[in-house]
Symmetry: C2
Subunit: 334 residues, 2 copies
Amino acid sequence: MARLKDVAQLAGVSTATVSNVLRGAKPATPAVERRVLAAAAELGYVPNPHAQSLRTGHSRALGLVVPDLTNPYFPALVQAIETTARALGYALIVMDAGNDGARDHESLALLATYRVAGVVWVPVDDRTTVDWPFPIVTVDRPLDGCDAVVADHAQGGALVAAHAIARGHRRVGLLSGPRALASAAARREGFLRAAAGTLEIAWEREVPFSSDLPPAAVERLAEPDCSLLVCANDAIAVGALRALRDAGARVPEDVSVIGFDDVPWAEFVEPALTTVRQPLAELGAGAVAMLHARIAGPGDARRFETHPVTLVARRSVADLHAAASATPPAGGQT
Amino acid sequence: MARLKDVAQLAGVSTATVSNVLRGAKPATPAVERRVLAAAAELGYVPNPHAQSLRTGHSRALGLVVPDLTNPYFPALVQAIETTARALGYALIVMDAGNDGARDHESLALLATYRVAGVVWVPVDDRTTVDWPFPIVTVDRPLDGCDAVVADHAQGGALVAAHAIARGHRRVGLLSGPRALASAAARREGFLRAAAGTLEIAWEREVPFSSDLPPAAVERLAEPDCSLLVCANDAIAVGALRALRDAGARVPEDVSVIGFDDVPWAEFVEPALTTVRQPLAELGAGAVAMLHARIAGPGDARRFETHPVTLVARRSVADLHAAASATPPAGGQT
DNA sequence: AAGCTGAGGTTAATCGTTTAACCGAACCTG
DNA sequence: CAGGTTCGGTTAAACGATTAACCTCAGCTT
């Protein structure tokens, strides 16, 4: 592989000049510049990133630490992050923390030894102090003192309430997520605020983010006693769908269900799930852009971005204004 | 951060000695060895990987190139690869080729500039010549001249046939995948061989790996004319489920469906899908182990590993031997 | 006792960049 | 025209490891 020295020799200048020209660090005579560029092109020169990193003390690599790749939330996020990182000239070192807080920090430590220029981090637990030799931006879990991009969960909750109201629902049941999680709390909060005065909360159960509903919730679902089930999560919604089916209730004819996240298979369950879509691609791209900016300006004020979510209406919530008796037309997706 | 030099100074020896001791390259006096280890521990010394790479010409990083992270097949694979790579002391640089052959090669080129020690590659198209400055092992798509791990698709096909026979099916319809893909061909082949003489192939349609079935296939499904639908893929199976539902057929009472892959939501569709599970974790771990071996022994013979698949029986295929009229018990998953 | 050997260290070159320090020529400028 | 500036370029010193070559000295052999 061609080295800087080879380019310099071919162009008949010193390595310093080549380096300066190639990086646009110092201006050079047009003639010299042309010769250098030509030589570099001819040799197919590509700088050795390790030499660069050694010299400058930082690499053109970014780290990404996620709690668990098999969580359906992440692949789209990772993809967006990788794509925009690459477009900005960074390589991406990915680490999976296996939902383990200790491994989370171990990963950051490892990234530190690699002198990455920055890290995109989705922490497994919300509150952990941070003190690392690189800038960090977190996704979806704000940590004090470091940049963050988040989806607007509260707005999502409001969207759900609005949709319910628009479709003529009055009494709803709530399967809310772990109150301890900021995102779950925000969804609930946003929903409640927008529902206030219009929607009646028949009952509420706090359940984990999982399709395996606790028995208490399953029992409750045997006699729903409401026209709409608001779930904090698509996983929960799928669990609800299953429980309702087992109880002999038809969705959405007897009771409607709405989820949150728009996991990849939300459209494949029966009936296709109405849910709130998180802007994963935007979140990922935004995080990398923010990190890039922070690398350029370490001293700037803390950055914080919140991205709007959208509701995607499918078949799982009935329109009570439409002929109340008729079955909604099949295949009515999107 | 502590450098080799600092350790040497603290231990009262030369940097060469420290380097040798730490890597176990050359034996040293027990006393010296102890001093060095103590010093390194005290300073929390971690070698600078860029300096190492610069000097040795290769890094302790592996590359991973996949066609498309949002394909449900990959997250579990990537996770296994990352985990075992990390256990072996490698960092993992992940690249998404966006299902684009050109980008695929571009990614490899980029990895070359990073002097990765090796690459795990899932090529977007099967036949591409390979000539790179690092060892490669491919997953699921063997390329001549480079190591590979693959799932035993033919065996999977045989498993499907055996299951069909065991459950009393006689006439089956085939929704086979793109014949051009080696994996699809192997599945079909394995199935046909095991079915020969026992199962009657009522009809066959070649369709792409997608839930959006071509009209021709949908039409065929309106009048299935068989007791079991063998799908080359879970995506296809989901499409079939949808088409059958639209046609008013009940699964599995009227017709059974079987898939392949065991995507994460195979258990969430209605009815839960019987399918063949690919050993993603084993495939990933195997690939990295193989790559590691190849890095150690560049001259060794070509390696090729095939991993067995397993059938996971859920509700979507009926047992014709059981009371033919009765509905299978609900909730009978696993 | 002279000479060889080998074990255990050290010295210094090297990997491919970046960048501070320097240098000469050309270009004002008063 | 003598004396700054600028401009465009070079030289050489890092960065932090690895490793070939060399050195020293204790222990053996004859």
